[in-house]
């Protein structure tokens, strides 16, 4: 089987715009959360989020004016992809066949134009009553919506923009499996490379749901933390008093490459991707399976794919969203697969610091795993204060811990029941 390695990484996150910053801020236990500045959320049930600070695409790529109408998701993706490709020595590298470089993103949609959409809705709704008159709605919407903005919201545009801007003519995929999306993208990209469909894939994800409809939607589902008085303490995976996740945003990209191809061109190799498992809960759209049925099976499949046993795993980067249900089910799933070994395997949740980057969560956590293998320090789970009897594993509470990590596992579980586990290994 063809071996696949990581030869480049890029990240635009609430904790920094490079893998190095992202990682060192996690080692210090910093939180990216703060009051929402993307829109006026002061009266919303949740008023804070974990946001990318001071982002200006012009500082990251040339010709950024061509992308002014793009959503933040596409802008983050362009910036993160630039750094990943540059890191891998693939920006404008004409020695590499561009038809053999593909893209696989797990990325979300752009955000609705709240002022004009809400005005069009209001224009069509009678003062008393619920039925919206489409004619009044259309008159307002067609006169005020920006055509280019509406187009750029479409989900194929992000991977399309990347392919067109960076000249990546190989296979081009975009998937949207909610919180599992970029993990699933990396996994399927791994399989495409193993099969030989191309030699290089840039994979990852990008998303921002920190807009009025995103926050409204998650608030209505009661999945967001309401700890408005202390945002940095709100994401507390595995802690007894967790009350929901903190919405994050950002992008991460990794360059994945067939080993011999990478070696032949003298590329720097960060780590090797050795295992991928994916399953569906087939349970409910609202909850994950209470016994972590699908999660356990995908963990097992990923280890089997990697040819590794639980005792070979040095570190698990958990999905760890800080919701009651996820953290309990994930703990059960890990115990189910790891048995007694579960208690000896350090686990942490990057979401305690970064918040939940939704479609981009999996890739940013994969980058964290790679940095952990490179540097030998595992990031902590912050805000872990009160143990939950149902969550009784070693979650690396509050302080980073030194350990030589050869094998790391990253979990991502999506709303609706898609599960992904990835195994990454020190390159030898």
């Amino acid at each position: 089987m063809r071996r696949i390695v990581i030869t480049g990484m890029g990240a635009i996150t609430p904790l920094g715009n490079s893998p190095k910053e992202l990682y060192s801020n996690q080692l210090e236990g910093k939180s990216g959360a703060g009051p929402i500045f993307r829109f006026d959320a002061k009266t919303f049930p949740t008023t804070f989020a974990s946001q990318v600070k001071g982002f200006d695409l012009a500082q990251h790529i040339q010709g950024s004016e061509a992308f002014t109408q793009c959503g933040l998701n596409t802008k983050f993706a362009l910036a993160a992809a630039r750094y990943a490709l540059e890191d891998a020595g693939l920006l404008q590298n004409s020695k590499v066949n561009r038809e053999r470089i593909g893209v696989y993103l797990g990325s979300g949609e752009g955000s609705h134009d709240f002022p004009n959409l809400s005005a069009a809705l209001a224009a069509g709704t009678p003062e008393s009553g619920f039925k919206v008159d489409p004619v009044a709605f259309w008159k307002s919407a067609l006169a005020t919506f920006g055509p280019q903005h509406e187009y750029e919201m479409e989900m194929h545009t992000t991977s399309g923009r990347l392919a067109n801007y960076f000249d990546l003519q190989g296979p081009n995929y975009t998937c949207q499996t909610a919180c599992a999306a970029s993990g699933q993208a990396i996994g399927e990209a791994l399989e495409l490379l193993r099969r030989g469909d191309c030699d290089i894939m840039i994979s990852g994800g990008s998303h921002s749901m920190i807009h009025p409809f995103g926050v409204s939607g998650f608030n209505l589902l009661t999945t967001l933390s309401l700890r408005n008085h202390e945002p940095t303490k709100a994401s507390r995976p595995f802690d007894l008093n967790r009350d929901g996740f903190v919405l994050g945003e950002g992008a991460g990209m990794i360059v994945m490459e067939e080993l011999e191809h990478a070696q032949a061109r003298g590329a720097h190799i960060y780590a090797e991707l050795v295992g991928y498992g994916t399953t569906a809960d087939a349970y409910r759209v609202t909850d994950s399976h209470p016994d972590g049925r699908g999660a356990a099976e995908c963990l097992r499949l990923a280890l089997q794919d990697a040819g590794l046993k639980p005792e070979d795993v040095d570190y698990i980067n958990a999905h760890g969203t800080s919701t009651q249900v996820n953290d309990r089910a994930e703990t059960i799933a890990i115990k189910h697969v790891f048995g007694e070994q579960a208690y000896k395997t350090p686990i942490s949740s990057s979401k305690s610091m970064l918040g939940h980057l939704i479609c981009a969560a999996g890739v940013v956590e994969m980058i964290t795993c790679v940095m952990t293998i490179q540097n030998g320090v595992m990031p902590p789970t912050i805000n872990y204060e009160t143990p939950d009897p149902d969550c009784d594993l070693d979650y690396i509470p509050n302080t980073a811990r030194e350990k030589k990590v050869n094998v790391a596992v990253s979990n991502s579980f999506g709303f609706g029941g898609q599960n992904v586990s990835l195994v990454v290994k020190r390159f030898q």
């Binding site: 006026d40 002061k42 009266t43 919303f44 038809e99 593909g102 893209v103 002022p115 809400s118 005005a119 809705l121 209001a122 069509g124 709704t125 003062e127 619920f130 039925k131 919206v132 489409p134 004619v135 709605f137 259309w138 008159k139 919407a141 067609l142 919506f145 509406e150 919201m153 479409e154 989900m155 194929h156 545009t157 991977s159 399309g160 392919a163 067109n164 003519q169 190989g170 995929y173 975009t174 998937c175 949207q176 499996t177 399927e188 399989e191 495409l192 099969r195 009025p212 409204s216 939607g217 209505l220 994916t278 399953t279 569906a280 809960d281 759209v285 609202t286 099976e297 609706g416 898609q418």
Partner: protein
């Protein structure tokens, strides 16, 4: 010893289209050269620049979708009504129809962990009535516009609590996996017009590598919703041929002036060959090639290369292909672009069939619905005509099959789909004999 390649065949078909809700009526309508395009069904659509559409006729989800657990039937039907947008319901119907048409049974013969779901879907727009009240209540007496400070307090309370779950693009595949207890891989591809062909390609790869034996693969999309209609009228080139709706979508015709928005859902059962044989399933066709790539220069060169890669995987020459099932968006630029790619690989002799004259464009569902057309063509040994290509554009140097019913002459079919950004997907089907 070379590893024996696992093969994948199509053993079930399910669909909800403007031309029928079962394979037989769909096929008959295609043979008859029927167009489904009409004036849009909204009583007054006067503000819309394009007032044409190809809509799925009335259907009763209750009769089409079943929950495996009969004790939950009632709550489930409530979920269907309240928790699923039209696109989601249509996708779920198509998935279940395909499952039953393949004579698969929930109670025997399926290992849930080896049964997956792959769908193509797009952005699912909110129904206006779910948000209208929230917007109205948020209007500020001073500015006369909805303001966030009111939205956060009084507006948000007017939105149904599970609003977001109704519209997530991965919901069609989630509901299919839940109701059919498919616990294997589940993915949702959101690559616009290429989405459902990408889903098919991925399912094919997963079966090939041995991670799964059985898939529901589909695509679903409905734009028959005021918000979608507004958005697509703004950024998509749509036909203005209001005086003759049935002739509006004209693929490769010299007088084409844009697409007609349609809606559709289609699903097929993709099954590992030995498994299909063992249960003596009806095999409609074999999937023998797939490729994807990006034609960023828009000159058809890379699109042609993607077609060649798929043919290479199928180990065939262009001369062995009976027809190319084209995308045919019917915009001046897109058809010319596509024709260049087809011409580069096939020259101007291989027949080109396009179903969009009949069906309009259903975005993420289009690839699956159209592929189903060619699957039926392989099965029935004949190819219905492309309609509305009355005066083939001389700048599209391809042989559009636009006259009568053509007998199937060769055992292979190529299906091409691509996005306006050049993302291209190609699948090759082989007649099962």
């Amino acid at each position: 010893m070379p590893r024996v390649r696992r093969r994948a065949v199509i053993t079930g078909l399910g669909l909800l289209t403007p031309l029928g809700q079962d394979p037989e009526s769909f096929w008959n309508a295609l043979r008859a050269g029927t167009s489904a395009t009409r004036r849009i069904s909204y009583p007054d659509a006067s503000p819309l620049p394009c007032q044409l559409s190809a809509e799925v006729g009335p259907f009763k989800p209750k009769d089409l979708i079943q929950h495996p657990d009969p004790t939950k039937a009632k709550t489930f039907q409530k979920q269907v009504n309240n928790l699923m947008a039209r696109t989601v319901v249509m996708g779920l119907c198509a998935g279940q129809l395909a499952f039953r048409q393949a004579k698969l049974s929930l109670t025997e013969g399926i290992i849930p962990e080896r049964f997956g779901v792959e769908f193509g879907a797009g952005m699912i727009a909110s129904e206006l009535d779910d948000l209208g009240r929230a917007a109205r209540m948020s209007v500020d007496p001073e500015t006369k516009r909805p303001e966030l400070k009111h939205w956060g307090t009084v507006g948000i309370k007017e939105i149904p609590p599970l609003w977001m779950l109704k519209y997530l693009p991965n919901m069609p595949s989630c509901h299919v996996s839940i109701t059919l207890d498919a616990r294997g891989p589940s993915n949702t591809h959101t690559l616009s017009d290429a989405a459902s062909l990408m889903a098919l390609g991925e399912a094919y790869r997963i079966i090939e590598r041995g991670a799964c034996d059985l898939f529901v693969v589909g695509g679903t999309e409905s734009k028959m919703n005021p918000l979608s209609l507004a958005r697509h009228n703004l950024f998509q080139m749509l036909s203005k041929r209001h005086h003759e709706p049935e002739k509006a979508h004209r693929p490769f015709d010299r007088d084409r002036d844009g697409s007609v928005l349609g809606e559709a859902a289609a699903a097929l059962i993709l099954e590992e060959l030995d498994r299909a044989k063992a249960r003596q399933a009806t095999i409609y066709a074999e999937l023998v090639g797939f490729a994807s790539g990006v034609d960023r220069t828009r000159d058809g060169k890379v699109m042609a290369n993607v077609i060649r890669k798929a043919l290479h995987e199928a180990q065939i020459e262009p001369s062995q292909v009976d027809h190319v099932n084209a995308q045919g968006l019917a915009t001046p630029f897109s058809d010319r672009w596509e024709a260049k790619a087809i011409h580069e690989v096939f020259g101007d002799k291989t027949p080109v069939w396009c179903l969009k004259g009949n069906l309009g464009t259903s975005g993420a569902a289009a690839g699956a619905v159209e592929l189903l057309g060619s699957t039926l063509a392989l099965h029935h040994n004949e190819v219905p005509p492309t309609i509305n290509c009355e005066h083939p554009d001389p700048e599209c140097r391809i042989a559009v099959h636009n006259q009568g019913i053509k007998p199937l002459q060769k055992p292979y079919v190529v299906k091409l789909s691509f996005t306006d950004m050049g993302q291209t997907a190609v699948a090759v089907l082989k007649k099962w004999e």
